[in-house]
């Protein structure tokens, strides 16, 4: 049942959403994989929207260089496990909700256990093989999953994968569709797509010395708060649409394309014939 606090908290949602839809949100369980620039914000947004249960999964701790964009990273949470920081922040937003911080790195051996029992999975990890593992498993478990990807200088992509819909690997033209990534060669092949994405980003204005440093393992992926947060917000909106029983806007192979350098900075697009080329996303 909705408590008085809960009803007061969600009051401004009503009008856009109905109380019945709000009740669906309250009864929903969301898993957020990755609590960095995108996932940390998504977890907070879920709590604020009045979603009843959030599981946040991340093995990492916050560091100073996370502060530029990660909503859960502050000088007080540096060196703290991301899952623990998430737990505290979400409980401070809505004491009535259930929060599960899981200190874990999602992989083939734990993914089923981590994702089972949720109504939707928000994928917010930066590692390509882990993305594949999450979306493939969500589909096998019959859970919709929302995926994202961001590239410098100003681009992003969001898409919603339904259990009966196109597979993540097929929509994005990834090798080894449906196969477990215990095959290390396949895993490396998928991981290396990110290097190609770095070089494609250079064509669009990212610095070439960064792409080289990234491919040599000397630099991380460039990501600014504006892009990370727009990815989180558009992914989150897909989740609210799904859980409230409305239609998500970008069911794969459709995608939401973000490019802040364009006249239409955010657009829902049909996939090009033959699917998306992940190198260019």
């Amino acid at each position: 049942m909705m408590t008085g606090f809960y009803m007061e908290m969600v009051d401004r949602n009503i009008g856009v959403y109905t109380w019945e839809e709000q009740e669906k949100l309250r009864n929903s369980r969301v898993a957020v994989c990755g609590l960095g620039g995108v996932g940390g914000y998504e977890a907070i947004l879920c709590a604020r929207m009045g979603i009843g249960s959030v599981t946040g999964i991340d093995f990492d701790t916050y560091e100073i260089s996370n502060i530029n964009r990660q909503m859960l990273a502050t000088t007080h949470t540096v060196d703290k496990p991301k899952a623990d920081a998430m737990q505290e922040v979400l409980e401070a937003i809505n004491p009535d909700m259930e929060v599960n911080g899981r200190r874990a790195r999602v992989d083939e051996d734990n993914v089923v256990e981590l994702l089972s029992g949720h109504d939707v999975v928000l994928e917010a990890v930066d590692d390509m093989p882990t993305r594949v593992i999450i979306h493939r498993t969500a589909r096998e478990l019959g859970i919709p999953s929302v995926g994202m990807s961001g590239s410098p200088p100003t681009r992003g992509f969001v898409s919603t994968f339904m259990p009966g819909g196109i597979r993540y690997e097929d929509a994005l033209n990834l090798p080894g569709a449906g196969r477990k990534l215990t095959d290390m060669e396949l895993r490396q092949q998928i991981a290396d797509i990110k290097k190609k994405r770095a070089w494609h980003s250079v064509n669009l204005g990212a610095p070439a010395d960064w792409a080289q440093a990234y491919c040599d393992g000397k630099a991380g992926w460039i990501i600014t708060p504006v892009r990370a947060h727009l990815l989180a917000l558009f992914s989150f909106h897909e989740v609210v649409q799904l859980l409230s029983g409305r239609k998500p806007l970008a069911v794969a192979p459709k995608g939401i394309l973000i490019d802040l350098a364009r006249q239409t900075p955010v657009t829902v697009c049909e996939a090009p014939p033959g699917g998306w080329d992940y190198t260019t996303l």
């Binding site: 009503i14 009008g15 929207m49 009045g50 093995f59 937003i93 006249q263 955010v266 829902v268």
Partner: protein, 298 residues
């Protein structure tokens, strides 16, 4: 999950402060230093102004004048990033200062815990590089953008409209003015009580217009809300993604004003970044068909 940017070899840590160093790669070292030196004023620290303040802090801005006469309440929790249960009842401007200082202890803040008024606007808004209007009061908006123009300071305007619409626009001393670009009834007039009433009435017209645009799923609930809003029995309805998307885009406008890159100019009035999450073009830069916008339709 470990997606930090470390181009430390191309940056000089002595030159740029906390936060901005991690944005290098998209920003040049000079640009990061410029953000560190810049001063911003944010009026209204609710759903839009709050996330904009956080964004600016994370991008490396280190001086903030935070202005809001309001205190947090439980219904702010759904979308206002500065609000948590412990902050309910506390001053929004004061909490904003605490939250951004926790992000970057090098930040200097000036906190004004009263609403901006016509008599105080020039003094309160002076001395910054960009002003953000995050208010939801249509009279306050006119006061803010008038003062900004007199002071020669760029100002960022926002709108959040149910169910899924919003807008962001920047006024600069050489762009069209706010009252002109939005066809405000106050244009060229003193803000008498009568003019203020005309300005407030725009919001009711916006609510009615919103019902007309609502899709089948939203129409009934929007209609009920609109009647309640006009009768004074319901607040403006705002959902979290909308407030936050508009706030993030507004903070990007502030950044564009400060960086002033030739290829990355702010969305200068009457150009407007229009948000509508129910359309394929979820965000697009648009120009008014007749040269000016009708505020009741935004």
């Amino acid at each position: 999950m470990g997606i930090e940017v470390e181009m430390k070899e191309t940056s000089s840590p002595g030159q740029i402060g906390f936060c901005a160093a991690t944005n290098i790669g998209i920003l040049t070292v000079d640009e990061a230093a410029r953000l560190n030196r810049s001063r911003v004023a944010i009026v209204g620290l609710g759903g839009v102004g709050g996330i904009a303040a956080i964004q600016c802090a994370r991008m490396g801005i280190q001086y903030f004048h935070l202005i809001d006469g309001d205190a947090f309440e439980a219904s702010n929790l759904t979308r206002q990033m500065l609000c948590s249960t412990a902050q309910v009842g506390r001053s929004k401007a004061q909490v904003a200062a605490e939250v951004i200082t926790e992000i970057n202890p090098g930040i200097e803040t000036r906190v004004t815990t009263e609403y901006l008024a016509e008599e105080t606007a020039l003094e309160l808004l002076d001395g910054v590089d960009v002003i953000m209007d995050g208010t939801d009061n249509l009279v306050a908006r006119v006061i803010i953008h008038r003062a900004a123009r007199r002071l020669g300071i760029p100002s960022v305007w926002i709108a959040v409209t149910p169910p899924f619409r919003g807008g962001v626009m920047t006024f600069t001393p050489d762009s069209m003015s706010m009252e002109e670009a939005l066809s405000q009834p106050s244009l060229g007039k003193e803000l008498t009580d009568g003019v203020k009433r005309e300005l407030h009435a725009i919001k009711e017209a916006r609510a009615r217009h919103a019902v007309g645009l609502a899709d089948e799923v939203s129409r009934e609930t929007m209609k009920e809300w609109c009647e309640d809003f006009i009768a004074g029995n319901a607040p403006w309805t705002v959902i979290s993604p909308m407030a936050n998307i508009v706030g993030v885009l507004a903070s990007f406008e502030m950044m564009k004003v400060i960086l002033d890159r030739p290829q990355l100019q702010p969305t200068r009035a009457p150009s407007l970044a229009l948000v509508d999450l129910s359309r394929p073009e979820m965000v697009k830069i648009a120009c008014p068909p007749d040269g000016r916008w009708d505020n009741t339709m935004l």
